[in-house]
């Protein structure tokens, strides 16, 4: 009989709506990160590096890019005879058909998948955090405590704790209380959304709560286990962990990679991060270029100036262009003379000549003050920007834009252009 001690279930179905136009066409776990990676590479690499070789990836929102990226799992060595990676979309059932309505509901709908590996433990992960973690150490901890559930938690500054789900523990790290985004947190240990469950405990809880609307781990399953008197422990993690859920934190996490010795180091031999790499040529840096404090992906052609930026593979930056404090994703083209400051330029964007992007005073967003609340210009994938336009900061652009879309050739700070149905 097939037997896996621990399998992982990776929740990758969310939109990540607070990344705005970046996730208009692609699920958040598939958003590019750090020059050549996608966000989901981090949990997937953690799995294989931890010896977890069976991973179910639950997808729902815009899964095309994600599916193409994961494939049969070759880049992570997750193409296995038994186990490996399996993409688990919602599916039609004989009696009813449901979307995944919540994190736990998604796992519930895949009980059969988990059952087929006869696991002792199930690791629940989400596909939107940047970190390196050895889940095997967490499992050892789980076993040593004879726990039913172990929740990874990290200390955060107490004044920020009210943004998180907070766990309160006793001397033995057994959790005694939960607080979801509390006004007055009793502890500074924030849940990271990483759980190890004993299989029976998970299965029984999911079945018990199967009729719960929008069944969610944090809101329903964990409180249920707690009420049933299960042994729930907190596993304290103190390494680098970054939630890249907002445009601001996404930009910051990218920028942290270009420090001389970054806290999150991609250049270490130990604990490599794997990704689907295309076979691309080296990058060419021309004699008219100027590069400072940046990381640049393969296949790029750089003729302009690049300072404090993260440039993905296959990007062209023409002569006289200047990129400062920005993230440019795969396949983008920045034409001659264009100046870009504090911007996120998504995949395959083409920006015309002599534009100015990301300059000017901060202004409140007219599109969404919740999403666009940062000093950043954001341009969604496959967008086109015409020559000679001036674009302010805290703007959002998506689609093929023409000069006519820019009154007086300008887009003021806080403004937006979102064209429907234009993106191919």
């Amino acid at each position: 009989m097939i037997k896996k001690e621990m399998i992982a279930m990776l929740l990758a179905g969310g939109q990540g709506s607070r990344l705005g136009v970046l996730t208009a066409k692609v699920a958040k776990p598939a958003v590019a990160f750090g020059g050549k990676y996608r966000i989901i590479d981090f949990p997937l690499s953690n799995c294989i590096n931890s010896g977890v070789d069976t991973v179910g990836v639950l997808t729902q929102y815009q899964p095309l890019r994600l599916n193409a990226h994961i494939g049969i799992g070759i880049p992570w060595d997750l193409d296995r005879n038994i186990g490996g990676v399996t993409v688990l979309p919602p599916y039609e059932k004989s009696e009813n058909t449901d979307w995944y309505t919540g994190t736990a509901n998604a796992i519930y709908q895949n009980l059969e998948y988990m059952e087929s590996f006869n696991p002792d433990y199930v690791l629940i992960l989400s596909g939107d955090h940047i970190y390196k973690m050895d889940y095997e150490v967490m499992l050892d901890y789980h076993k040593a405590n004879n726990a039913d559930v172990t929740i990874a938690a990290m200390p955060v500054p107490i004044e920020e704790a009210s943004r998180f789900g907070v766990v309160v523990t006793d001397d033995e790290n057994r959790i005694t209380e939960f607080q979801e985004k509390p006004e007055h947190p009793k502890s500074n240990l924030a849940s990271m959304g990483i759980y190890i469950f004993n299989w029976e405990v998970l299965r029984d809880s999911l079945i018990k709560l199967k009729d719960q609307q929008n069944c969610d781990f944090g809101k329903h399953i964990i409180p249920y286990c707690f009420d049933m008197g299960k042994r729930i422990f907190s596993y304290e993690y103190t390494g680098y962990w970054k939630d890249v859920g907002t445009l601001g934190s996404y930009w910051e996490a990218n920028m942290e990679l270009i420090d001389i010795v970054p806290e999150f180091n991609l250049y270490e031999e130990f604990w490599k991060i794997y990704t689907k790499s295309d076979s691309l040529p080296p990058q060419y840096i021309a004699d008219v270029s100027d590069i400072e404090k940046s990381i640049i992906g393969e296949g790029c052609q750089i003729y302009g100036k690049v300072i404090n930026s993260v440039i993905s593979p296959d990007v062209t930056i023409e002569e006289g262009a200047e990129i400062v404090d920005s993230i440019i994703m795969q396949g983008a083209v920045i034409k001659a003379g264009t100046k870009i400051n504090k911007s996120i330029i998504a995949e395959k964007v083409v920006i015309g000549e002599n534009c100015e992007i990301g300059f000017g005073e901060m202004a409140e967003s007219k599109l969404s003050t919740k999403i666009y609340a940062f000093d950043l210009a954001v341009i969604g994938e496959n967008s086109v920007i015409p020559d000679n336009v001036k674009i302010g900061t805290n703007v959002a652009i998506s689609g093929v834009t023409e000069l006519a879309d820019y009154p007086n050739g300008e887009l003021a700070s806080g403004d937006y252009i979102v064209k429907a149905g234009e993106v191919q």
Binding site: K36, Y274, P281, P282, I285, I291, K293, I295, I296
Partner: protein, 373 residues
């Protein structure tokens, strides 16, 4: 494609000097991210040749490592595949490959068990793009027995290092001289042949029966009158790596925009083994001009007119000019390197100077301990 491929990658060349100590020429790193055999392998897969044998012998460690998976070139298919043949001792053979024809003869079973009617024979040391289907089409049109892909060398290049051919108006080869003392033509053989599989088996077996071992001298040259041997003229870029100067210049050619775009941007692509390396990192003191930089590099110093292979580390205040830094090299602070090829996995101590003088390319091999500088 109705052909199988054979890549002769066993050779070594003393004119590669110290660079050949470590590897066969087919495994020489080229253009930042490739090894020279990648070009032929990519041409084969792009020409839809599905079954390819690589014959290796000399110092094949790097090459075998490179070819350890066939998936990079998409050869890992149920039909066909990538076969690496090193000499092996059998009940009726106890020799190394005594020559190119012998290498094929020792693996004649590969030819006999295939069903494709044609064979493309190529070398592993040339940098070029070629659709072998075009050669095959011409081969069939001319009703040739053997077609040799030829290249007209530019003025000033020494043709005597090659097999020099003379052709008639129809392209039929009327003379073929291997490494002549004096070349009377600029047209040279690239070492790429198309031949019918059954004919190749017949010629190779005849050759072996006479205890002869060389493909050019004992098979091609011998039949230059009696068989219909045609030339296929290749117009595009082709260079083979057989001397240190060739190697250096072939790499530096990739700093030329047209050549770079021809190989990197024009379909079809050239494939290579993909490493899991992070993007290149430029620290605040980095200054890079007119250079190719590969993944995994970390740059603190000045780089001009150079090619950095994967995972090179360049320390503070270093100046690297007109040089090739092979993969996994660590260069300590304040080091000056000019007109050099730095061997892979080298560790260069801080404050070193290496300069190739008088147009000579200096090969730097420094095997210092890595982390106690």
């Amino acid at each position: 494609m109705r052909a199988i491929g054979i890549i002769l990658a066993g050779g070594n060349n003393y004119r590669m000097k110290e660079l050949s100590l470590k590897r066969a020429i087919a495994a020489m790193p080229v253009a930042g991210s490739y090894r020279s055999i990648d070009f032929t392998l990519s041409n084969m897969t792009n020409s839809h040749i599905q079954k390819v044998a690589v014959l290796t012998q000399y110092n094949a460690w790097s090459l075998n490592e490179h070819l350890s998976s066939s998936k990079w070139w998409d050869f890992g298919r149920k039909q066909g595949g990538l076969y690496v043949f090193t000499p092996s001792i059998t009940s009726d053979n106890g020799f190394w490959y005594r020559g190119t024809a012998d290498a094929i003869h020792q693996n004649i079973g590969f030819l006999k068990s295939s069903h494709e009617p044609y064979v493309v024979i190529a070398t592993g040391d040339a940098v070029y793009k070629l659709d072998y289907n075009k050669v095959l089409t011409q081969h069939i049109d001319k009703q040739a027995d053997i077609t040799i892909v030829c290249k007209e060398l530019p003025e000033g290049e020494d043709a005597t290092r090659f097999g020099v051919v003379s052709v008639d108006d129809d392209g039929r080869i009327i003379d073929f001289e291997e490494k002549p003392a004096e070349a009377n033509s600029r047209l040279v053989s690239t070492g790429i042949y198309v031949i019918r599989r059954r004919l190749l088996i017949e010629l190779i077996e005849k050759c072996a029966a006479q205890d002869r071992y060389d493909l050019v001298n004992d098979v091609i040259l011998k039949y230059k009158k009696s068989k219909r041997i045609y030339s296929y003229i290749m117009k595009d870029y082709w260079r083979n790596i057989s001397t240190v100067e060739d190697y250096f210049e072939t790499n530096m050619d990739f700093l030329n925009k047209d050549i770079r775009n021809y190989f990197f941007k024009q379909y079809p692509d050239v494939y290579s083994r993909v490493n899991d390396l992070p993007p290149a990192k430029y620290n605040p003191s980095a200054k890079v001009k007119n250079s190719l930089i590969s993944s995994g590099c970390i740059i603190n110093g000045t780089i001009e007119n150079s090619i950095l292979f994967k995972k090179a580390y360049i320390g503070n205040n270093c100046v690297i000019k007109n040089s090739i830094i092979l993969n996994d090299v660590y260069i300590g602070d304040n080091t000056h390197i000019e007109n050099c090829i730095v061997e892979s996995r080298d560790t260069i101590n801080a404050n070193s100077t290496f300069i190739g003088e008088d147009g000579e390319i200096k090969i730097v091999i420094e095997e210092n301990a890595r982390y106690n500088m």
